[in-house]
Amino acid sequence: MAYDYDSSIRPGKLPHIWCPGCGHGIVMKGLIRAMDTCELDRKNTAIVSGIGCASRLPGYLDACTLHTAHGRAAAFATGVKMAKPEMDVIVCGGDGDGTAIGGNHFIHACRRNINMTYVLMNNFIYGMTGGQFSPCTPTGDKASTTPYGNPDPIFDISKLAIGAGASFVARTTAFHATQIDKLIAEGIKHKGMAVIEILDDCPTTYGRRNKFRSVVEMMERLKDMAVPVAAAAKLPAEKLEGKILTGILHQEDKPEYTAQYAEVIKKAQGA
């Protein structure tokens, strides 16, 4: 049987607003499958987002959703989790929303290791606001604000998350559709901050400025870029140039923030 996505989507919301070939739809399918795998009760699941193309995702899902200020998704999600620790909290956002405008909220949510799942769709650019370069636009690539090529080095989001203290970090691409739901499901099951970075394609504002002739070409590039972590360990360093590692990059057991905070409340109340 075909997969039943319809029961997770708000009636009358499709077709969605994303451009032809935008990978966010593939990620949304993966997120729905992951929520089904983990048997999340939609009435007890908060999906939080900021502003941007990727942040439109929760609006289509039939769950408790919160569409907030630009970059502030992690901050609002932290609030939801602190007020209702029994809820499952999932954050959706893009690279501009999560690592530039909301960079500070992102690293501090990682540092606190609060129990939530951050699905970060990295499409290398600000899509909705007009194709400005983001901290993830590869050096030399063109954006509407860098017509002669972007001089900035990029953020490696996964390394940033590991460095900031997230206890589960994984990465995949929109091409690897079956891996998306597996990694998100692992992240949901993990107790602590789980960051799942999904490399995505933006044919409209990134692809057409950077000589990608079609969506399929962008998808093929994502496929060629990805090297699974286990395979990368056996490859010489020169073969990994320009590649990105996919799979679970980091996982550890660390004290979780809401549990730690419950201890503080107990102490303060003299128990």
Binding site: Y3, P20, G23, G25, I26, K29, F175, A177, V216
Partner: protein, 67 residues
Amino acid sequence: MSSPKGEVEIIEQYCKGCNICVAFCPTNVLEMDLFVVKAAKPEACIACMQCELRCPDFAIKVHKKEA
């Protein structure tokens, strides 16, 4: 051995013609017809689900059926 075949259902009003499904179908079941996908060779479908998994627009459903 008879392989399980699939029946491709296309929801035309959702399709935006991105061509992902056409490019990744291993048996060339699908093709573009004026920016909307259509199942040109439905009998060749092997129900691998590649198109359903990768369709960003929720426009393709593959129903597996026993041959």
